[in-house]
Symmetry: C2
DNA sequence: ATGTATGTTGTTAGCGCTCACAATTGTCAG
DNA sequence: CTGACAATTGTGAGCGCTAACAACATACAT
């Protein structure tokens, strides 16, 4: 960081003096105001470069009441999905000249969310992205109006809050449709927790796809997203052998199921086909490689920022955006072996 | 957010008026200055509560030249390790009353790092945690002095920069020691890239442990941390069969190797033992469950903040901290089958 | 009473910036 | 040459806070 001779960082006034103009003119230059003559602008820019001047964010915030910061509130920020969404948000935000402040929830509760929101309002963020794909999230957000645009990622939003989500139902239908196409008739679902938006929407999609094909949807298990819960269900399913195919709520649970099936001698895909959800980078190297539904989390994050920036900078109304998932076919699915 | 009757957020002056004191007294109360009488303090606190007053961060920053924000600069923030380290940093920082600003590097280069550091100095952060475990990182950090404490996570630091790291060499020795104890004599290493600190230190630990046991260390392959590169090496190793045991640089590459071995009919651990590094939540559900070295990334993040806060608040000198990893034994390792 | 130390409260200035407005310059029709 | 208007530049105030200092009250020793 360059300092002026007196040991202080240069400020607007210093630039103005060097360029022989008023501080206000310098302010106009750095804010790209139109009515500045070309000659003046160049003089000022030269002075800025010479001094290595950088605008003081705090002073600017104080008067504009804008912090150029957006807050990201997340509950599982280390997980593949949220972490990559965060990356998308960060990229779009920084490209637009915003800082990104984060707050990780240690638990999903009203108080924890309020705490984090207050943390952000204390910082006077200009917008908040909420990565808490819980069914309660929207309701809680309605109670606490932070006075700035909020985007609830993973939901469609409502009257007060914008939304950005991947079309979970569509994803589930892709997965189940693929299994039906292969000839499966008994397709079970190992779901995520039903109080998670993604969990319930994927289950809904599974049900809808089976309904449409006139197939039964009586085989539903509810896990907790973890490989461990997948493993438990895998053991049970290996013993029961009621379904010829499994649509699993995420890749981690699918991994646990593959592990349990391998232990129990159930062959995938020969005996049972398995489809996951998310397409983590590792899923193509499971044993066997996992057919799954890819979600573009970074794109989701960028879309979230698109919406938010339009609200912040153009005063746009609350809106929402939907990202379409896609099926990735790998070795864990095949046609069922017809019994004679 | 509560507003005063005139529609503006309450400020110090409003609280002072309501409490019947000067704004400076209110300032003393919210900053916990000692010389305030109990009666006054209570009056002020009541007024603060009544108005829902919250201090304006920008105004405070402007005069204190402190932003109460720490910046986290990361290169692979969505990966298991860095993501959890970030969580540890966030937790410690927020508990200490700091905001956490992030900047994700799209590529590891001098320019990208400078960009991100400038982003943080623009924000006048009070400290910077650098999660870029690249050998070049320290050198680059020396060139750009941000004027605030910096902790290079994943390294020991140097004269100018503090460090916080997991004892990678120790971890490697634990892994290799375990294999030696089981009776293995030919132990190969599938390393991470040698220009990553972790990659080179783990390779060093592998070499040191073999040296000490008087065993050869000629079987070294260098991957790129991805499951895909593990898979490629796995195919090669399955064909060559030179080693009876493998120490793999991380769990993801180990997953790729397990996949390749499974395809090639190489049984783990019967034919070859495999040890990974990291202990991701999924590693216990690989086929077979992976013996690996656990790193406590959240702890690493917290320790990083300990150091930084001591530098920021107590003016402590540059220092460093080391977190000890631990071996997790699972089914992917066993004694070699003795040949007759 | 006087002086000194201590605790408590108030007053003033200013951090670096942007906004609203004032002042100055240039341009061109009449 | 003058007046009206637009383009450009400058001036002053103030955002909300803390630091430095001043002022006042209280206590106690002299």
């Amino acid at each position: 960081m360059s300092k002026s001779s007196n040991g202080r960082l240069p400020r607007l006034e210093d630039v103005a003096e060097l360029a022989g103009v008023s501080h206000q003119t310098v302010s106009r230059v750095i804010n790209n105001h139109p009515n500045v003559s070309k000659a003046t602008r160049e003089k000022v820019e030269a002075a800025i470069a010479e001094l290595g001047y950088r605008r003081n964010t705090a002073a600017r915030s104080l008067v504009t009441r804008r912090s150029q910061t957006i807050g990201v509130l997340g509950s599982e920020l280390a997980q593949y999905g949220p972490a990559n969404t965060l990356l998308g948000v960060e990229q779009a935000a920084r490209d637009a000249g915003y800082f990104v402040s984060i707050a990780a929830l240690r638990s999903v509760s009203r108080d924890a969310i309020f705490d984090a929101l207050r943390h952000f309002t204390d910082q006077s963020v200009d917008g908040i992205a909420v990565l808490v794909p819980h069914s309660e999230t929207l309701r809680i957000l309605e109670e606490f109006n932070p006075g700035v645009p909020v985007v609830a990622v993973g939901s469609l939003g409502d009257d007060a809050v914008s939304g950005a989500m991947v079309d979970q139902k569509r994803g589930a239908e892709l997965a189940v449709g693929h299994l039906i196409e292969l000839g499966h008739r008994r397709i079970a679902h190992v779901a995520g927790p039903s109080d998670w938006i993604d969990g319930s929407l994927r289950a809904e999609g599974w049900r809808a796809a089976l309904d449409e094909a006139g197939l039964p949807h009586d085989l539903l298990l509810e896990g907790d997203w973890s490989a461990g819960s997948g493993y438990e269900f895998g053991r049970r399913l290996a013993a029961e052998r009621t379904a010829t195919a499994l649509f699993v709520g995420n890749d981690q649970m699918a991994l646990g199921i593959l592990r349990a099936f391998n232990e129990a001698g159930v062959r995938v895909p020969d005996d049972v086909s398995v489809v996951g959800f998310d397409d983590q980078p590792e899923s193509g190297y499971f044993t066997p490689p996992l057919t799954t539904v890819r979600q573009d989390f970074e794109e989701l994050g960028r879309r979230c920022m698109d919406i938010m920036l339009k609200e912040i900078e153009a005063g746009a109304a609350v809106s929402s955006t939907i990202v379409t998932p896609e099926l990735v076919r790998r070795a864990s699915t095949a046609s069922p072996v017809t019994e004679h």
